[in-house]
Every structure is written in C-alpha cells, then in structure tokens.
C-alpha cells in the first residue's frame, strides 16, 4: 500500500512533502545564487558561507542539546538560515561575523521564541539587521576584485559616493558588481525563485506583489517618472530578489491567507523604496521585511476567511 492511504481521522489527503523536502527545495533554489557569489567573490565568499552554515547548524544542535530537546538539525532549516545569512553578508567580513550572526539568528530570533515555525521574524534577516546596525563599517565593505566599491543603491542615493560610477544594467542582471555575496546576480536569483514557484514551495503572491509594488513606487517617487532603467535598477539591485523570493516568503513569518500575502508583499514594496530613498541606510529590503514580519499576526487576524455557514452576528 502506498503512503497515501492511512487509516486515521482527517485530513485524509496527504502529500509526500514534509519540512525536510521543502527545505531541500529551498537549498536547491539557492544554489545558483550561491555558486555565482562564490565565482564572483572567490574563496572568501565560500569561507563565509561555510562558516555561516556550520555555525548555524552547530548553534541549533547545541541549544537543543542544552535544553534537552530533540535535536532537529536533520530538517535542513538551520542550514537554510545559515545559507541565507551567508548570502546576505559581504565576503570581506572577518571570521567572527558569521558566527555571531548565526548565534543571534538561531538562538535569539529562532529558538528563544519556540524554534521552527514559531519565529516572529526571519532569523537570517534578524541577524543581518543586528549585524548591520552594530557593525555598519564592516557590513558595508563591498569590494569587487579587491577594490572598494559602492553598491548601485548607495550610488543612487547621493552625491556622497562621488567617484563611483553606476554599473551597467547588464552587470546588475548577471551580477558582476559589488554587494553581499548572494544578492548581486539577478538572473541566478530569478532562476531559484522560478524553481520554488514551479515546485509550489512558495506562493506567487508575496514575491509578485512585492516586486510589482517596488516598480510602481520607483515610478511614483523614484524621481525619473516612468523610466525603465530606474525601475530595473530598483528591482534588480540590492537584496530585493533574494528577499522577495526567499525571505519574505518564510512560512512562519508571513501571512496565511491570500489577501494577507498580498498585503505583506505590497507593504514590503512600499517600505523598501521609502527606506532606499529617504532612510538612513542605502538598502531597505531587510528592514522592510522585518517590519512587515511584525505585522503578520495583525494581518492574519484581520484576514481570517469567513467560515462557511456561520450565522451573521
């Protein structure tokens, strides 16, 4: 008999997917961006990513062992947190940044709030924000081929980055630019995102409305009107694609209902562009997603679908 037939109470229809198959799909989807990051930034990038993953898994095991829980590092979720954190760091960071970041992500953001599925914000993003605010200098040391560069967004922002020229759109698309390890290559991230959509691991609503609202905001307040290159710069640069496909869609910290997902996506989009243009930091994706993460319980509460047959009060 196949696994599909199980004698039990409802639900009766089951799929083979479970936490680890879903998580494995996410890892597969992140591979192109990871590979490109390593190709683009070299050995240091590989080292940073490995440090992140190993220490994330290590802290998860350590915490669960210490609190006498079942050790669940086999479910890939700590690996993904570590990998996402690694992709969100510049490759120039000293060795202790990945370790400290993983500790914050796993212990403080994830385990202290109840572990897998209970975290109120995306652990990797929480850690990135923690590191960015604490070590602004280290966390924005973008280099490409050993030369310090400003990211396209920093150049966009101001006269303060005089002497740096904006990269060509095509470089932005393929990824040969300065930035965090995993966020430079738009094409690699889109490939991964499409894979997740195709495997139905993520729903199109959050990334779709997120990207669309960023584009709309870029037209509305980007300063150049309906200018294709402004829109593309906003959509392809920074951590937007990485955030939209892989982090805003985190199951535990995104809304359940379809309308809720759309609210989440639009909220992230609006906040991202506002922070990019008016905020103190050049990139707004991580803060935007974290802020919307905090609204998820509220969004869920007001978007509960009407239950069938209920008598109106």
């Amino acid at each position: 008999m196949s696994d599909l037939f199980v004698v039990s109470s409802s639900p009766h229809i089951r799929a083979k997917e479970n936490v680890s198959t879903i998580m494995r799909d996410v890892v597969i989807a992140l591979l192109p961006a990871t590979a490109f990051g390593i190709y683009n930034f070299g050995f240091l990038a590989l080292q940073t990513i490995i440090l992140c993953v190993v220490s994330a898994v290590g802290f998860e095991a350590l915490y669960q062992w210490f609190t006498k829980q079942k050790v669940t590092i086999g479910d890939y979720s700590a690996i993904i947190t570590g990998l996402l954190l690694g992709l969100n760091l510049p490759h120039t960071v000293p060795f202790w940044i990945p370790i400290l970041g993983s500790a914050f992500a796993i212990i403080i953001v994830k385990q202290l709030f109840g572990g897998l599925g209970q975290n109120f914000m995306n652990p990797a993003l929480g850690a990135r924000a923690f590191l960015l605010i604490s070590f602004a200098g280290i966390m924005t040391n973008w280099q490409i081929d050993g030369v310090t560069t400003a990211t396209p967004l920093a150049i966009f922002k101001a006269e303060s980055a005089v002497g740096f020229t904006s990269p060509q759109l095509i470089d932005l698309f393929i990824g040969g630019i300065g930035g965090s390890i995993g966020e430079t290559s738009a094409i690699a991230l889109i490939l991964g995102g499409l894979y997740l959509l195709f495997r139905k691991v993520i729903d199109w609503r959050i990334p779709g409305t997120y990207l669309l609202s960023v584009a709309v905001m870029a037209v509305a307040i980007g300063g150049n009107g309906f200018d294709m290159s402004t829109i593309l710069y906003h959509v392809f640069s920074g951590g937007l694609l990485l955030g939209a496909f892989f982090m805003a869609t985190d199951y535990a910290s995104s809304p359940v209902s379809n309308i809720g997902k759309i609210i989440m996506g639009v909220g992230c989009g609006i906040l991202t562009v506002l922070i990019r243009l008016y905020g103190g930091y050049p990139e707004g994706v991580s803060f935007a997603i974290i802020i919307m993460n905090l609204f998820v319980p509220l969004i869920d509460r007001y978007t509960i679908p009407k239950s069938f047959g209920e008598v109106a009060k």
Binding site: F130, I133, S134, F135
Partner: protein, 200 residues
C-alpha cells in the same frame, strides 16, 4: 532589625522592581546606556523613593483617601524637582547624562506604587527602609543592564576600557533595540536562577 533586612531583601530580590514587578520600564530602557547612567538614575530614584515614602507615611492619617493620588503625586513631584535642582547645582556631570529623564521619575510607577502599596499603610521607619530597598533594587537592576550594555556595546565598564583592542563593540546594544534585547535576556537569566532556587 530583622524588619530592616527583610525590607532590603524584599526590594533587592523578592520583589525586585525591574526583574520581578516589571515596573518603571521607561527609565530602565532609556537611560541604561552605561553602568554609571543606570546606577545614577537608580540612586536618584532611591532618593525620591525614600523621601516620598517617609512623607507619605507621615501623612497617612491626614491625607483623605479620596484625594490621595493627587496628594501623593504632589509629594513625589516636589522631591523630583528638588533632586533635579540639586543635581544641576552640585553634580552637573550626572545631570548632563540624566537631565531629560529626571522629571520622568514623577511618573515612575515604582515610586507611586510604593506610596500606594506600602508607605500609606506602614510605619515611617519601615517605609524608609522599604524605599531604600526598592530604590537599591532599582539601582542594582539598572546598573546590571547598563553594565552589560556598556561592556558589549562600547567595550567599557564604568567608563574604562575593559575589552581588548580587537573587540569590535556591538553597537546595537547601546541603541534602543539593545535595551530590549538585554532586558529580555536578563529577565530570562533571573527567572532561570529563581526557578533553580525554587526547586532546591
């Protein structure tokens, strides 16, 4: 004498205003960017607490219950203003660090809470030590939070460099979010210690 020790222990541990009663969160979060600021705020609050507890205990039979809250607030506000002027005149460095927050002691729930819950029902002598105990408990808690934030957020303790040169300060800890993170972690630590004690 055992009554005195009892009041002090009550304020410092059993009913610690910050870690047990979770009162006075505004100064707790706002001024604890360094150990000195935390302790300074704690001691300023202690002075107000002792003064207001004594006076309110003295007046407990005179103040009619219907107007007791405004009466308490007037007494507390008087002491706060006194402290404010005295600090400004004689300890300007501390005033510089705390200036903005001193008027807020008026609305610190610890002070009004002790007036209502303790001083208005107990003798002057006990009220004095209740104020001292609560105040020291508050100062101790704020000092702890301030010390943790200062050591890890700035690499210093009481203004002196304590961390080695290669230590990179975790700046977020001396910013507003760090106050919440450190407070939460210390809550957890105190609860852990207390639960251990309860079992033993």
């Amino acid at each position: 004498m055992s009554g005195v020790m009892n009041r002090l222990k009550n304020g410092l541990v059993t009913e610690n205003p910050v870690f047990v009663q979770v009162l006075g969160m505004c100064p707790t979060l706002a001024v604890t960017t360094s150990a000195v600021n935390g302790i300074g705020m704690g001691l300023a609050t202690t002075a107000v607490l002792i003064g207001s507890n004594i006076v309110i205990s003295m007046l407990k039979n005179i103040i009619p219950s219907k107007v007791r809250i405004p009466a308490y607030i007037v007494v507390i506000a008087t002491f706060v203003t006194l402290i404010d002027m005295l600090l400004q005149a004689y300890i300007p460095s501390l005033y510089d660090a705390l200036g903005l927050f001193i008027p807020l002691i008026v609305v610190n729930c610890v002070v009004l809470g002790r007036a209502e819950a303790y001083a208005s029902k107990n003798s002057i002598f006990n009220s004095l030590f209740d104020g001292l105990g609560m105040g020291l408990g508050f100062a101790f808690s704020l000092g702890c939070i301030g010390l943790v934030r200062e050591v890890f957020g700035a690499g210093k303790a009481f203004g002196f460099q304590v961390m080695p040169n290669f230590f990179e300060p975790i700046t977020i800890l001396v910013l507003a979010p760090g106050a919440f993170i450190v407070l939460g972690l210390l809550f957890a630590l105190f609860n852990y210690i207390n639960s251990k004690k309860a079992k033993a």
